[in-house]
């Protein structure tokens, strides 16, 4: 596998769904995880960068899919990170299904995946703020018409942000905005570019593919001969 590979959005959907399943996430959650990764790719990110951390963390038992809900929000077991795969779908279910205006999610392993889930579901008028375990602060705001911004007081990549307690709230409930570098995105414009170029994935792709490969079944002489019905030589 080359250091940089260009893949399609459809390949992201196919591979990441099964990569999630490869670390024992339920298939429905894995489907949403893959859609989130498509959204990241459509916005110019290498989706494997933050997702491999989330998958590694689940695979190594550092993160958990177990989630608890309390009045204030969502959390996982105290000794583990809350997996972003689970956190992202639960956040969406609550803000879309229950019309909540504010939610706290504690100790999420890969916060960008929660952001991506909101983006993939085209939420508008929401913001997500967090401080991660390195002390870096981020604020992501979703405006209308596919416009969104990231403000960060750190030079570290948002994809690598880890171990965050996140506040999800309505955008008009802003309080003081974070001071820092602002990056603006237009998802529609970014996606149009990506459709012309493909999605560049780099060194983390092999690990994603390895998780995906767990869903493949070893071929045997028998299954090779009969599993797909057709013969091995055709002479029509």
């Amino acid at each position: 596998m080359p250091a940089q590979l260009t893949i399609s959005l459809n390949e992201i959907l196919f591979i990441f769904t099964r990569a999630g399943f490869g670390v024992n996430a339920p298939i429905g959650i894995s489907e949403d995880f893959a859609r989130s990764n498509m959204w990241l790719a459509e916005n110019g990110f290498d989706p494997s960068m933050c997702s491999v951390a989330a998958l590694d963390s689940l695979d190594e038992g550092k993160s958990s899919l177990v989630i608890e809900r309390s009045d204030g929000g969502l959390s996982g077991p105290s000794s583990q990170y809350l997996s972003a795969l689970q956190a992202s779908v639960s956040v969406l279910d609550i803000i879309k299904g229950e019309q909540k205006s504010e939610l706290t999610i504690t100790n999420v392993d890969s916060p960008l995946l929660v952001v991506a889930a909101l983006g993939a579901n085209q939420v508008e008028g929401w913001k997500v703020c967090w401080c991660d375990e390195t002390g870096a602060n981020f604020q992501v705001s979703f405006m209308v018409n596919d416009q969104w911004t990231v403000i960060s007081d750190s030079s570290s990549a948002i994809e690598l942000s880890k171990g965050a307690t996140m506040q999800v709230s309505l955008l008009d409930d802003i309080g003081l905005a974070l001071k820092g570098n602002t990056k603006r995105f237009d998802s529609g414009t970014e996606k149009a570019k990506i459709l012309q170029t493909g999605v560049a994935v780099r060194e983390h792709w092999d690990a994603i593919y390895a998780y995906f490969s767990r869903c493949l079944v070893k071929s045997t002489a028998e299954s090779r001969a009969s599993g797909a019905g057709a013969g091995l030589v055709d002479t029509d």
């Binding site: 399609s8 339920p26 779908v89 299904g97 797909a228 057709a230």
Partner: protein, 565 residues
Amino acid sequence: MPFSAKLDEAMMRRPEQVMRLDRMGSSFPTRLSFMRALIRRMSKEQWKFEKLRQDVDENGFGVSVYAAHTPERTYSLVAFTQDIPADMRTDRVIAEVWDATFNLFDGVPTQGDIDYLAKNTPKQEGGRFRPSELSLARANKSLRLFEYIVSSLADGKQPDVDLVASVGYIMRTTAVYGSGKFGCADRAKIADRKECKVSFHMELLAVYLIRWFTIDLVETIAKQRGGSKAAILEPNIRQFIGVGNSTGLGMAPFLLKHPVLIHNWVTAKETALARVRSLETPIQGSLEAFTESIKQVVQHLKEWRVADEIQSARIEKLEAEVGQLTHWCGDEENLIKPYPWNGIYQFAEDNFSLECQEMVVSLVIEPHGALVDDLADAMFSTTVPQFEAGMSLSKLKSIVKDYYAWATSIDFSLHESQYHFWYYSEDKLEPRFGSKGVDDGVDQEMPLAIGRDADDLNEQLKTASNDITVGEFALQYPQFRHIIRRIQNTALRPYAEVQDNLLGEKMRPLDLLRFKLAFFGASKFDPKSDLWTRISMYQGAPMPDQLSYADHDDWAFPIRPKQSV
């Protein structure tokens, strides 16, 4: 249009009737099928076709480029041909070499593009492609026909029509990929183009150009071999030659993973049938056209010969039933009543096999282009099913009860109810159909066990309170998220679901394949087992130089041409 929406709705066949495997496995193409609709578009928009390049040696090995110019843009088929060992010629996904490999290129390729593709296209799944490539395909020669036609033409003779008809194609595609496979363009790149909007139109444009390429290739080799005495194929033989295809299990997961799309396809077809059945009086000339088409079908069936015993018996029965239908239609009393098309359909449904019923569906829709052709434009989808967390659990229970009785009535504790499973092999990701207790891989089963998962959910729902939301339920039971999303979608799109157990011992994946291939417009289904089939595509369709002919759309149920003397 002489139809009323209310009457149409009453005439719609119910999902529980249509979406059953045995009926799906009896499908025939209709005038809404993608190949038919694409040919109509080519003709209406006066697409131009051009051979841009043909650098092949005396055996036809080399590179060729064939272009289709639409009013707004150009698409090019880039074809590579090579010599391969006979013992490596297999139709399976696990093949490593092919006689011919192709890309459909978005635009006209530069020499740099062709150089890139020359290094990748012959490797197929082993190559990497770019958003400039819309489709990736390969084909193998028919060993019975390819060399025979070349030799005949080189000698200045036309090939024997009976032999041509017994095969039907010069080359047989074994995969036609699109929609982002192996780095090719995502569908979203082209979905807004009017010629790409309907499902699979770009893949089927590639196949249409492959058909032209195969015919041109045998004529080119014959010319090199025979010189001035070489002949070219007579137009009626050219038109009768299609492109073969071997279709295996890959199509089955696609059908199950795209429920919105399938709903839209079936809705279009069923609406077309309902519109025709709702006609109180026949449109002028339509009954005569129908009667003529039955005569053609009689000949078509005589020429549809397969080795498969089950399908042979079905064709034999179909021939007898078409004879009875001809007799029934010959009695004027049966056709002068109000709603004659409904009468014909109802007679078939009450008296004939599913195979004949579905053929009648195609036949009664056929003479009604002005009434139904607009429906072909709706055979696509941009909708991704959403998980509706705010839905009450009582509502979800009600949907399961109303739409999934077919699933909850199956006893999945029985071995025969969970006899099979679907999986991807590590061998080039080939989809395979395994048997539990026999094959490895149950733990890596593809999530296609819709009925079983719906039944499991139903059992869990029995213990859950009606007063919570689906989101709250999914928080407790995340393993049901995928099936809940699917079920919620089915309530909105009832033709989305195959209403049968896809794991059962008697389940035949072939039924799913035929259903999908009929929507493509394929004919002459030739099952080779329960898991794969050969078909013909574009048999009888106009060649590029015939698209302007008045009869360019008259190629349903093709029959072989007469041999010239």
